[in-house]
């Protein structure tokens, strides 16, 4: 197991390094003078003299070769120094730290919700194959992968926010500030965010349970006279979870992507909204760091999923 974890860890570090290279490279694709872009309009309009501009070049290290620039950036990031936002005139690390709890709050709620609902529904659908719950699950899984998240958000706002007035729209409180309000406000965004993951997990869970159901050990369990509860919970659930676990990581990627969009739709001041605002403000220092942080989180979660996969299914370790 230790060797397996080490191998995975090493792989993840290599991948993370390449991720930083990709982010750096993509930012180099920006057309025009990086300094003018990083400083925004004021540098381009001529209010800064040529001499000042050159000083700024040296200050930001833009006169150095690319490889040195990359090194400076990456060593800064590792030390928590991610540069300064030209729009907010604030430290990027601070901006991210401020918004991180909000994104995490919604993310964790959705993650828990779609995994529990997806596994539960997939399991019941497989056990009651062909019954109405199974049909419902199939329809839901198609809707879940077809519906545009941003549109679903708008429709929910229209029906439950504007027409029925059941849920507040465009407001957000942190859970430790006002817990009741936080739960109330989270309902619509969390439903939107979890739908796709819910659909994907339920679908996989269903086919996974159907596969396990016909195994010899399940027949043995039944013929031993175990209760349905024991067969389902002890024998079926554990074994059918294995393929579903890999999907947790993929689902997370989908959810994080959706979160960027949903924070925009519901005007929730999280990292996703910061990213979109910064794209439009051409605040590339923020875009660069935010992208890196999000990729970092997704990769780390996938690493944890991979390792737990090896723990649940020892065959994987020796591949």
């Amino acid at each position: 197991m230790t060797a397996y974890i080490l191998r995975r860890l090493l792989g993840a570090i290599v991948v993370l390094l390449i991720v930083t290279l990709i982010v750096f490279f993509v930012m180099q694709l920006l057309p025009g003078d990086p300094l003018v872009i990083f400083l925004g309009q004021q540098a381009g309009s001529g209010s800064i003299s040529q001499e000042q501009l050159e000083q700024l070049y040296i200050k930001y290290g833009l006169d150095k070769p690319l490889i040195v620039q990359y090194w400076n950036w990456i060593s800064g990031v590792v030390q928590g120094n991610m540069g300064e936002s030209i729009y907010y005139h604030d430290d990027v690390g601070g901006l991210l730290l401020q918004r991180f709890p909000i994104t995490l709050d919604l993310g964790i709620k959705s993650f828990i919700l779609y995994n529990i609902l997806g596994m539960g529904l997939g399991m019941v659908a497989a056990l009651r194959r062909g019954k109405w719950l199974d049909t419902f699950s199939t329809i839901l899984s198609y809707i879940g992968v077809s519906v545009p998240v941003f549109w679903l958000g708008i429709v929910l706002i229209y029906i439950f926010g504007l027409k029925l007035d059941w849920f507040p729209i465009a407001s957000y409180h942190l859970p430790w500030e006002n817990f009741a309000a936080n739960i109330h406000e989270s309902v619509l965004p969390v439903v939107c965010l979890s739908l796709m993951g819910w659909a994907v997990i339920a679908r996989q869970m269903r086919s996974s349970v159907l596969e396990v159901i016909s195994q010899d050990y399940i027949r043995t369990a039944w013929s031993k006279g175990l209760t349905e509860r024991a067969v389902v919970m002890k024998h079926m659930l554990k074994n059918s979870l294995i393929p579903v676990i890999t999907l947790m990581g993929i689902g997370l990627g989908l959810m994080v992507g959706g979160q960027v969009v949903i924070e925009q739709v519901f005007a929730i001041p999280g990292i996703g909204r910061l990213l979109i605002t910064s794209v439009f403000n051409q605040d590339y220092q923020v875009v660069q760091s935010t992208t890196l942080i999000i990729a970092f989180i997704v990769i780390v979660v996938n690493l944890i999923v991979d390792i737990s996969y090896g723990w649940f299914d020892p065959r994987i370790r020796y591949e």
């Binding site: 229209y158 875009v287 992208t291």
Partner: protein, 297 residues
């Protein structure tokens, strides 16, 4: 008598079923696949005949008719600039299909090429390519597309490039796996024993044998790409006005949600139907072409 019938049955050769017959039987096993096919056919026809079908111009509106409710003249109403919403919806199908097919072709060619090369060459080539693919997969797809199109600027071609980069790791992964399996077949060994070049093996054996799986992947991807394009244009980084794009229509209609909900709701239904149809047809193709992919795609 009955015994004789059974014996006769055994004497007869199994019924000959052509590949095509089998394909169609499995493909249409679920009636709903037909529904998906019809939607896709309608979509393609709409895109081709958009100028004939659209009752009004999609880009120039009549300011005097700004924000009309749905009526016989304007079935889905008009937007703030007085443009007919149905006409924009019809022209939006062109954007969706252009971006979908453009990205699938670009990402498919590069992704399949990289995956095949990595799987066939093995060793250090494999490691370098697959690590880069892993890293690209570390980004949520929509995030990568968003950042790339933000950097490249808006426009159809840039959206296609951004979405291609964001989706090509998927093709590379699947192709890599397929290449590793196909490579081990005896016919590949035989071909190589006869002195076939690597290029010949790759293009004459590995590529054709991976085609069924790739067709399934591409169909499902088309739906995902149309969804992603809509998301980008919703966020405002995709296709720029005045060109019609479904995602942008949802975003534009948002401001008038309380009074004119159809402006936002109708393009969303179009997106959902099309993506749904691609998923249905993709699933049908998967069952008919390559059932092994069940649970993977």
């Amino acid at each position: 008598m009955a015994k004789q019938a059974i014996i006769n049955e055994f004497r007869e050769a199994p019924p000959r079923v052509s590949e095509w017959q089998r394909f169609f039987r499995v493909f249409f096993q679920r009636k709903i696949v037909l529904f998906g096919l019809i939607i896709l056919a309608l979509l393609v026809l709409t895109a081709i005949f958009a100028p004939l079908l659209a009752p009004f111009s999609p880009v120039t509106g009549d300011m005097a008719e700004s924000l009309q409710q749905p009526s016989w003249k304007h079935w889905l109403g008009t937007d703030i600039q007085g443009r007919d919403s149905l006409s924009r919806l019809i022209y939006g199908s062109r954007t969706a299909l252009a971006v979908g097919f453009g990205s699938v072709i670009l990402a498919g060619v590069i992704g399949v090429g990289l995956g095949m090369l990595a799987g066939y060459a093995g060793g250090i080539t494999n490691m370098v390519i697959m690590r880069i693919i892993d890293a690209l997969m570390g980004f949520p797809m929509i995030l990568l597309a968003l950042v790339i199109s933000a950097v490249l600027g808006s426009g159809l071609l840039n959206v296609v490039i951004a979405l291609s980069v964001a989706t090509l790791p998927g093709y590379a992964r699947v192709m890599h796996g397929l290449t590793l399996t196909i490579r081990e077949n005896d016919y590949v060994l035989a071909e190589r024993a006869m002195g076939a070049s690597n290029v010949r093996v790759m293009f004459m054996h590995i590529l054709p044998n991976s085609l069924p799986s790739m067709i399934v992947l591409i169909t499902i991807q088309l739906g995902a790409l149309i969804l992603a394009e809509a998301t980008l244009s919703f966020l405002g980084v995709g296709i720029q006005p005045p060109d019609a794009a479904w995602g942008a229509m949802v975003a534009d209609g948002r401001r008038y949600l309380l009074t004119h909900p159809w402006l936002s709701i109708s393009p969303g239904i179009a997106i959902m139907l099309v993506v749904f149809a691609f998923n249905l047809v993709g699933d049908g193709l998967r069952d008919a072409l390559d059932p092994r992919l069940r649970g993977i795609l």
